[in-house]
Amino acid sequence: MEYLNLFVKSVFIDNMIFAYFLGMCSFLAVSKNVKTATGLGIAVTFVILITLPVNYLLDKYVLSAGALSWIGPDFAGIDLSFLSFIIFIAVIAAITQIVEMVVEKFSPSLYSSLGIFLPLIAVNCAVMGASLFMQERAYASVGEATVYALGSGLGWFLAIVAMAAIREKLAYSNVPKPLKGLGITFIMTGLMGMAFMAFMGIQL
């Protein structure tokens, strides 16, 4: 029940895009059609899902204050938490590289349509943000961290696919010229964010 609660919260209420604006760059750039958006969404979800448990374990057993005490009592006083940003980003970059190679091998069409944005998952704020939020909120177990990872990944996926669907339709509407493209996308994201705020009342 606790897991389900956490999952629903991280998909809808603490949505990476609508509540924290994380991963906006690729969100705005790749949400022009549903197919690529789906591909990127899946890739991001996948990267978050793998990096988060890894980073969780690193944080718990290597980085945080006193985390090294499992080696021996002499190590209990060591606090490496100042290295966490750099370790997290290194893990993310490495895993992104692997995902990139896998996508290139198994789906060259997706690879070419995602283009530059595949390597850029490494600097996708949603991925890094998920790791930092995980550290900040001090989840109790790997299980919780994994559920949170899945939830926030799917939340991002949901947001970008929904936005792509709207933008496909929007191509046929008569938007004021200066607002076309970027401007209207920002405003729509804001409006969708307001709609998502309705989920805040959910209690599980």
């Binding site: 750099i86 600097v123 996708n124 401007g183 994201t189 804001g190």
Partner: protein, 203 residues
């Protein structure tokens, strides 16, 4: 040196409203002007110095680990800033929480290193970084000005809306504090900018 390097990023190629970079990490810090200013300043320092160092190292970086090297340079400066804030501006570092760490993944920094610093001499790269950081800070400050003024009736936490207004029935717009309004305000800024500079309009 070409003046365009530091003039352009402020308006014509503003990283946020034109290049659509770096929106990710930082809209959430625009609820209050103080946070926005520190965030803007931090990003300026990081963009400036990481561009400088990336440019200094540009001939030696092995191509295959280029991205990682860039990330390490950026992360170095971000951690320095984070440690500094924790030591001397503790309250602020708490309220910025994870967003300081997220400067690492701020696309402006990586974008400027890739697009400019790796192909230019150190000094222009530094100026380019600072100017882009400033263009970014400018948007943050404009946004936070409106959000704090209309949302809490304060500027830099100092009350500016007179009590008599409240007595007469004026109310703070709570919506301004919530995340969606930041996006809508940016949309409006883009709208205004593109109304003035027609060549930026999308077909």
């Amino acid at each position: 040196m070409d003046k365009e390097i530091y003039k352009k990023p402020l308006f014509l190629t503003n990283p946020v409203t034109v290049l659509v970079l770096g929106i990710c990490s930082s809209l959430a810090v625009t609820v209050q002007m103080k946070g926005a200013c520190i965030m803007g300043l931090s990003v300026m320092i990081v963009t400036g110095f990481s561009s400088l160092f990336a440019s200094l190292l540009r001939n030696g970086i092995p191509n295959r680990i280029r991205i990682i090297v860039q990330l390490v340079i950026v992360a170095l400066f971000v951690i320095l800033i984070d440690q500094f804030l924790k030591a001397y501006m503790y309250d602020l570092s708490k309220s910025l929480s994870v967003y300081v760490g997220l400067i690492i993944t701020n696309c402006i920094i990586m974008g400027r290193i890739e697009a400019f610093a790796l192909g230019n001499k150190p000094w222009p790269s530094f100026v380019d970084g600072i100017a882009n950081g400033f263009g970014y800070a400018m948007i943050l400050i404009v946004l936070s000005f409106f959000r704090e003024l209309l949302g809490s009736g304060t500027i830099f936490s100092i009350k500016v809306i007179p009590q008599s207004w409240y007595d007469a029935g004026y109310m703070n717009n709570g919506l301004m504090i919530l995340p969606p309004m930041a996006l809508i305000l940016i949309g409006v800024i883009v709208w205004i900018q593109r109304s003035i500079q027609k060549d930026l309009q999308e077909k």
